[in-house]
Symmetry: C3
Subunit: 666 residues, 3 copies
């Protein structure tokens, strides 16, 4: 890793800038308005391959030279993109075999974006050529403070079934397994007669008459992630040979699942993330908080950049709900509270043409005299007032496990019930912690978890023996572990652990699971739970074989009637909790109250809808408060409210929909 933070002052503020679509006159207007809005960083060149490398190996930098100079003259820094997410038409004409083929054998054509095979040798050669050319020319350009490789790796497509991908998959497998015996064992090819006797007989897991070998699919997901990352590394190395600025690529935390962000977090100099609200979700700001916490966590807790979000509506959802007055600021401050030191948008100016013309922008179609631009300018001023927050960090007492490998495995076909979604499970557990005002990190089950009072495993379907041992040791040493049903079921090859379901956590939890008892659609049953009379659960029950655990609640009806539903187990100095069903909201609230009590945690007790996150700097503590509610709220505090500059002595009132950032010294 080279530089830790781009060379700019305070919080980064700006957005994607695609002036290729506009006249020179518009460029000048843009730069003037950027200054008005307080923009200090723009991302440039992300889709410009065809305009820079105008024919294979033939470069035209003239317009980009002019643009970067213009930005530099106006004090606007540049995050310079490599345009490799979208190769030019001439590339596909010369290398038609570089087109992606999907699982059904359909060739993905030109005319959109993100359509290239990341295993194509021609593509790999081309990306190094253009990354090298850009770095050679602009490594020393004073505007450039950050490099931005590619765009949203793995979106809109990750998997590729082209011949180049199949060939690369075979190489990757040979590298991983060395022998066919090892591969046959790992994939369990004895089942359904899939034994391999030659590497070249192995295919990508394309459509077949029935379900394809799940271990093969899981390896293909790993391979897909690996191929994308290899391309990133190739570009990064090409740039680093010339340039000293930090290098990033923009993730899509909590919105795309094709990349293992833990691995990617190790490769980038600084994490950056794109986040878009899911409009159909009335509590979309909770999904946003997950994305922000995940971005921070995969970067090891260091400051990161919100590389893209939207000023108002997006354009690709069924109904693209516009943000209302103040919502953009609340979103921005939540990201900042959770560790983002840059707040950028897609995009600066709304494009007139193309697939995203209805995507909102900092400068909307309605122009400068618009609600959106006024809020953009106000946000610029606010962020400017928060410059000192840059570099401070977030600390968490709770970890929620988030493991892409497990999610990939759980997403495969033929699971016990289609109502069990890992994403919904994580959201359910996270949401209760959010409502209780408890900040969380995300973690892998193999991480050092010793600093956390509580570790939650909402959807740890795949758990290796080693990781199970790590979790068990965490409990033994005094930690509190809360595990949900359908965890610790399979190993790294999607093979069921011996000894009954959840057996690897037998010691930590004091139980195994004898049989899954999924419920019918819409079916739900009451729990028998002392002090919790009205708790109902649905989707899942199971037949738990106790091995030391104490029963907290039993199933009050359904196929598991009278069997244990929630258990607690003392192991070593710690406690293992287990919940064998999907609890309703009351059940989740009740469960966590009991878990907190044992783990030495307390819910914040703040009013519903008031989100408060704390960042710690050198000698200062910043509390970022976001009021999602419809009433003003008084937050107990002492210090200075930075947006208003007001001194706070005891309490600060935050208007409905408003925000505050209070600096104190403790």
């Amino acid at each position: 890793m080279t530089n830790a933070w781009p060379d700019l002052e305070g919080i980064a503020y700006g957005g994607d800038y695609n002036p290729e679509q506009w006249s020179r006159e518009t460029w000048r207007e843009d730069v003037a308005l950027m200054r008005e809005a307080g923009v200090n960083l723009v991302s440039v060149g992300i889709f410009s391959w065809a305009l820079i490398e105008v024919a294979e190996g033939e470069f035209d930098f003239s317009w980009l030279d002019e643009l970067l100079d213009l930005l530099n003259e106006n004090g606007i820094h540049v995050d310079l993109g490599t345009p490799t997410a979208s190769p030019p038409a001439w590339f596909f004409a010369a290398y038609p075999e570089s087109r992606v083929i999907d699982r059904e054998g359909r060739v993905m054509g030109f005319g959109s974006r993100g359509m290239v095979s990341h295993s194509s040798p021609a593509y790999r050669e081309a990306i190094v050529r253009i990354a090298d050319a850009l770095a050679t020319r602009y490594a020393s350009h004073p505007a450039v403070v950050l490099w931005h490789i590619h765009n949203e790796y793995g979106v809109p497509v990750g998997e590729d079934y082209s011949p180049a991908s199949v060939a690369a998959f075979r190489d990757w497998l040979q590298e991983k397994y060395a022998t066919l015996d090892a591969l046959n064992a790992a994939w369990g090819t004895a089942f359904w007669g899939q034994h391999y006797t030659a590497w070249e007989h192995i295919d990508a897991p394309a459509i077949a008459p029935s379900v394809v070998n799940p271990a093969q699919r899981l390896d293909f997901a790993r391979f897909t992630d690996h191929q994308l990352r290899e391309c990133f590394i190739a570009e990064r190395e090409a740039i680093r040979a010339h340039a000293a600025q930090p290098i990033t690529t923009n993730f899509m935390a909590n919105q795309s699942w094709t990349t293992d962000l833990w691995a990617w977090g190790r490769e980038v100099d600084i994490v950056s993330d794109d986040h878009y609200l899911w409009a159909a979700d009335e509590d979309a700001h909770i999904g946003l908080a997950i994305a922000a916490d995940l971005s921070r966590s995969v970067g090891g807790g260091k400051p990161w950049i919100l590389m893209e979000h939207s000023t108002s509506a997006v354009n690709w959802q069924p109904r693209n709900i516009a943000k209302r007055r103040g919502e953009m600021k609340r979103n921005s401050l939540t990201h900042l509270g959770r560790g983002a030191d840059g707040i950028l948008f897609f995009q600066w100016r709304a494009g007139r043409s193309g697939a995203e013309k209805f995507h909102s922008a900092m400068l909307p179609h309605a122009g400068r005299d618009s609600r959106v631009f006024r809020e953009v300018t106000a946000l610029g001023a606010d962020l400017s007032a928060l410059a000192e927050v840059q570099g401070s960090t977030v600390e968490a007492e709770v970890a929620v496990l988030w493991d892409f490998e497990s999610f990939w495995a759980q997403d495969l076909e033929w699971r016990p019930s289609e109502d069990v979604s890992h994403a919904a499970q994580v959201r359910r557990f996270y949401e209760q912690l959010w409502r209780d005002g408890i900040t969380v990190d995300f973690a892998l089950p193999g991480h050092d978890l010793s600093k956390y009072k509580l570790v939650v495993a909402p959807a740890q379907y795949l758990l290796t023996q080693a990781d199970a041992a790590n979790l068990t040791a965490y409990v033994e040493n005094g930690g509190t572990l809360l595990v949900s049903f359908f965890s610790a079921i399979v190993d790294e090859n999607d093979a069921v652990h011996a000894g009954g379901f959840a057996a690897p956590l037998r010691d930590a939890l004091g139980l195994t699971v004898e049989e899954f008892l999924p419920l019918r659609e819409g079916e739900s049953h009451r729990l028998d739970w002392d002090g919790h009379d009205d708790v109902v659960s649905d989707v899942w029950q199971e037949d738990i074989a106790l091995a030391g655990a104490e029963v907290v609640a039993n199933f009050g009806g359904g196929p598991g009637e009278r069997g244990p539903a929630i258990t607690r187990h003392r192991h070593g100095a710690g406690t293992g909790w287990y919940v064998g069903t999907r609890l309703d909201a009351a059940g989740m609230r009740g469960l966590f109250r009991e878990v907190y009590a044992g783990a030495g945690l307390t819910a914040s007790g703040l009013p519903e809808g008031l989100e408060v996150i704390t960042r710690k700097g050198d000698g200062a503590v910043y509390r970022i408060a976001v009021n999602h509610g419809t009433d003003a709220v008084a937050l107990p505090a002492v210090g200075t409210e930075l947006l208003s500059g007001a001194a706070v002595d005891g309490s600060f009132t935050i208007a409905a929909g408003g925000v505050a950032v209070i600096r104190s010294t403790d």
Copy 2:
């Protein structure tokens, strides 16, 4: 244009006749029953290519000679089809590259219908050969009074992604744009890195990982329409070289969207249309009225032919609801009232075999002794009594804009809300006019609209500056214009107009739209509208920036709360109305009442369900009345009821489900 109307007496009556499936004995029975039913025109040969051109260039006309002679001897006229909608098996065996390929790359096989690439050179050669052969042989046959080219162009498939189509698309683009710079500008290829440097790099807009360039897709829709029409013209010219009879092809107005019927209307000698009720629509007769008005409008108001409808159920809908007693007559008379001088069916005799064996016919499977055949015979007699109506015309005071280019653009992906459907919007506005008894023409925004008291734009998403100027001039000169939300958004390249949404109509409407505010699924809000307490709207709100317009109603809740929802603007001698949301039925009724008042229109005041349309002939006025209700209705009238021959002096009573045609002299 050659002859304006086929050489036959009175109203044309009959249907598709496919005797290839039957014995000579059945032919004779058919002809006898046709005479019994009053049939005077049958469409012949539409699917007979394989039986006429039995091998490439080898013709067998014997059976067709015999058939036409038999029909002629019995005084039954012939609409002679070219069979080019369905090439023979030998054609596809010889020219497999002529098969259609769909967007996903799937090759469309033989064994169905309509499966050929209209860009295939082999197909184009073959259609001219067979059209020429048919015209050479039958130009002077006394039975033939009309030529019927192909069948339902663009159905079941219009778009074609075969190599022949791609090659033709490139030629069409080169013809349209001349330079790649022009194409790159029109398509906005700077977005997502799609810049082209060679014509041969351009593809049809086949599937890609994400959304394909919308301007490219819009051009491909235009190209598709153009290719189909080129084939029609090639056949027409081949026939015209020999034959003097009028030439038509059967449209599918309001049921297919792949052909720009305004352009097609200019190429045919007489418009003909196929129409089928949509069974799930309880008011399917309103959809029928739209189709009929559109057929008349694209033909410039001249008499047209209802080439196909059904006597009872069709066979291709999820539930094929049979028509009940009298419904076929009501449907037929509505078509006639709206300008059809021919009432034909698919088909004469129900076929025993094939995909449409459960489609109703004039002669059903149950045979002569059946409800359907009795009603067919009665209808023949009725139409015979209406002979004098032939040639009279319909006049309308209101125009509703109907623009295929705009519909194509609006149907593309990634629009603000999937709940906004152009077809539903047109239906909503048309339906209120229908309920108010007001007859409408359809028109393009560039037409001379000066004769209309009111012009309605329910879904004019694409509006060129020139067409906007035409609408503005219409208002300036005293017209009343009613515009719905999501109008005047993009230009001819699907690029957003500068200056805010709806800016091209700023002068006419006195406003622009700052931001779209689509509503969530199922969300609705009350309007604040003086004198309209209970009006609710849904799907859409928006942030209107007034520029002179007067506010008629505001949003009573939702994201646009307190902003304008309905406005009225005085411009020049006329008025521009705007409605920024989707109104419920009460809202539509109320809105139109106010609009009528200003435009000098009045609702008919007739009972609900009584449809009355007026045709004007030489010295006679015909009022066609169709009672869709369940009660008898007395219609004020003076003159003669033609079906019964009864003199009418003051009022004529129409039974529930009944019809009447009253001739008067004013």
Copy 3:
């Protein structure tokens, strides 16, 4: 047919055994546990091709030798599978043209199961080679008592659109029709211009722009069934050349529709069937009873083997509901009661890896100390107590028509209403008989039906004139025939019968149908039916033209209002009943009560949920009673209850969820 029953004592008990996945140590544990559970038959080698023929023509029998010897030493018999459902990877690498292509042109890859073209010459050669090799080696092995060819023919894919399949289809058509004239006539190719002039122009009915010729699709369904069966016969003959044991293949009665089990029943020595509960069906045991009765019927009433069912949940449904305590035994006894003399499971030991790892097994993941294994062991003991039942037979007084050809035809596109499902119709009529305690056989309409008091035709859409004559003669000779709407519509070519719908049954039923009147979604109407005030019907009405039948009930509303809904017709010595709508439960109950009365049948009068089936042996009668209810039930009986050994004198009480088998002498 060679041997009628495998050479083993009593009821066969066991399951699929796939030890390829496990160590030798596990094999020994397995065999010990099998003995503990009373297992006497296991199916071996079904997916073992790659481990037996390790390269083309190169065999390794060592592990299989060892396994069979081990089983033999422990007294466990073997059902030896040919592994031809799943060819090895090397086969597809060598013969890539043997892969299945689906209707959309997608090539089905390796990595799953059942993925081969059954028309591929290379495949046909390979299956004979391996069947011959297995039979050569193991014909005399003392463990082997049964041969099991392939697995679930037609599942997961039956139809194949590969070039090999197309070529074979042309040959099959030439064989069937001899001349193109005959084919053109049968397929009605005059419709939509599909006339053929050369065999090589004919394709498989792959996707096309619209609906493909239904007669062609029907023939392709017949061809598909024929190709699968040809492969079975080739393997059977290869085995029979060496081996004397009976030969079977496992069907999927009532769960797969691609094979005509009547034809297959004639080819196997003994019928075997796989059956899985459909979890979303709360009365899944009725579907099970259908499958069992169908298995017995296609085997001509002889004992058959339940080759696979599940001990608890399966893994491939949306929600895989586990069986609860006692349910596995109830399922097993129902199969046995309906003629199964073998009760086997998929599979012995739950597999750790692969697509079916969550499928239940006799030995679950939780191991020996589990509910499931305890119930497996108890069932083994129960079946051992029932040894004497083996060979006894089931007799039925009612036949329900079940005709795969008719179902194939009815499943084609563009039928009058998508709400009419043949499977649901059969279930509806069967279910009423089941609830009335009346055991049924299934039959073809061309069978000798004289032994039945009642024949029910719930969904006989396709009915040849010859079969109609057979049904008519059955009535004439005193039988009672009950026919549902949408029967006797088309002939063997899916061509509508002349003379009105249902005309071939005009004499038997005293009516024809003039027009179908499908109802809208959710629409229903009351019947006018003396003594049945509350009966409602939905989905379908029709316009019946009486020709002698007496009206039992009329439509009380809807498009058919006041027309006949249910009729009865005396013909010769018998009666033809007709029901022209879909009755609700009360209507079905009432209808059957009247039908029974005339046919000399009576409902059992047993409590709801008590299923009793009778098997007759030499001098003994066995009544198998299964209590699906939640209350204990006393069954009047005299004799011995075999599971408990208890003497029964007057009545035997069966616990809720329990079973009993009572032997008596009458």
